[in-house]
Symmetry: C2
Subunit: 232 residues, 2 copies
């Protein structure tokens, strides 16, 4: 059995790089993306009736990782990066066939030139190829009582504070309110890889919605907080 | 972009043919299947820790439909088979890339010879090739408030009754209680294609868990019921 997948569309995302993309969808509800369908899938007929659904499943390729293959066991960040578990017991991006799965919110559909789906709550990096789109059916897909022993709830959040100069920049930014919220939601997830958590001097940078966001980890009242230092 | 998928495993299912397979998972909780992983994915390491999750996502290929391709619009059975909607607004099995997605219950894991996952609540026909396995994460995947306007709830169920002779056969069957329950759950979904709903004389047959089940649609007190006529 060998089956070839075609890219149905491509993601244009506020996540311009892989670093700091939340590890599941919905964790940063302010994250925006547009799914641009490609020919021959970009006919309005293909999405007729889709506006009746609030959420969609996207199946996609972890395109930045495909060349690196997979291993039978992985170290999920949720287990501190030390413990290994089976690749099929994880949502690791390094997996056989390299398929990802995310539920996203459908905000609107644009049919002027081809087909564009405007989405939110995504965890998809810019350029992600989409290989399937399905409506979310709550009576089939929503299992609130399903158990997931070592990942029973979303990861804990860190507090995010902004340097006074950054607050000023945001106040003058056309989409400052949204961008501030996006940065807060994304950084609160603690994007550091587990092996970097003991490096307090380090300054991190990430491209987010066109802004070069520089941040660091400080101790405040014995709690770790993220300080946004600069917006480039 | 063109990416080739490998089959990670194969489904051995109580659904021996496509006819009468429920249209979503979970609708027939008694449905059983075994997912047999294939080399090189059938190493116990690959599923280490999977037993901690109650439910799994399976991504699979609609292998019986792949040759028939897709059309921009489809007629979902839920809309009576007359109204057309976009293929991406449906879960139609005839779709670009031919990918299916089902959440299933993980009953147990067998590691004696290779790896076998025992599953229930499946909607997968025997022989289905599996291309991804992921744990279900309720805090990311369960959205009970998602809206799905024309399919807001499971399809209505028909009443299923058994001919006295069939009841006797089931009473002597080693797995009669389970088989009776399975037949009830499956037939209650009304497996007829929409265009056959006005053919009251027709006798249907389906192979289910090794039994050749013959059934028909009768009127009782102005309600349509399904009568199981024969078990071969």
């Amino acid at each position: 059995m060998n089956w070839s997948l075609d890219s149905l569309g491509i993601i244009h995302s506020c996540y311009q790089e892989k670093f700091a993309v939340p590890r599941q969808p919905g964790l940063a509800p302010s994250a925006r993306a547009t799914l641009e369908l490609l020919p021959p899938y970009n006919q309005p007929e293909c999405v007729e009736g889709l506006e009746d659904f609030s959420h969609l499943w996207l199946t996609f390729l972890f395109h930045q990782n495909l060349e690196q293959g997979w291993k039978p066991r992985v170290r999920p960040p949720r287990l501190g990066g030390n413990q290994k578990i089976g690749v099929f017991a994880s949502r690791s991006t390094f997996r056989p066939n390299g398929l990802g799965l995310s539920v996203v919110k459908l905000e609107s559909i644009e049919l002027q030139q081809g087909v564009k789906l405007h989405l939110s709550g995504v965890d998809l990096v810019d350029g992600t190829p989409i290989v399937d789109i399905k409506p979310y059916l709550p009576w089939a897909d929503s299992l609130p009582d399903a158990t997931a022993s070592w990942a029973p709830e979303p990861p804990p959040l860190l507090r995010v504070v902004f340097d006074a100069r950054v607050e000023q920049q945001l106040a003058h930014h056309t989409e400052g309110v949204w961008l501030r919220q996006l940065i807060t939601e994304v950084l609160a997830q603690d994007p550091r890889p587990a092996y970097q958590k003991n490096d307090p001097q380090r300054i991190y940078g990430v491209m987010l919605a066109g802004a070069n966001v520089k941040f660091a980890f400080h101790q405040q009242n014995e709690q770790e907080v993220i300080v946004v230092l600069e917006l480039g």
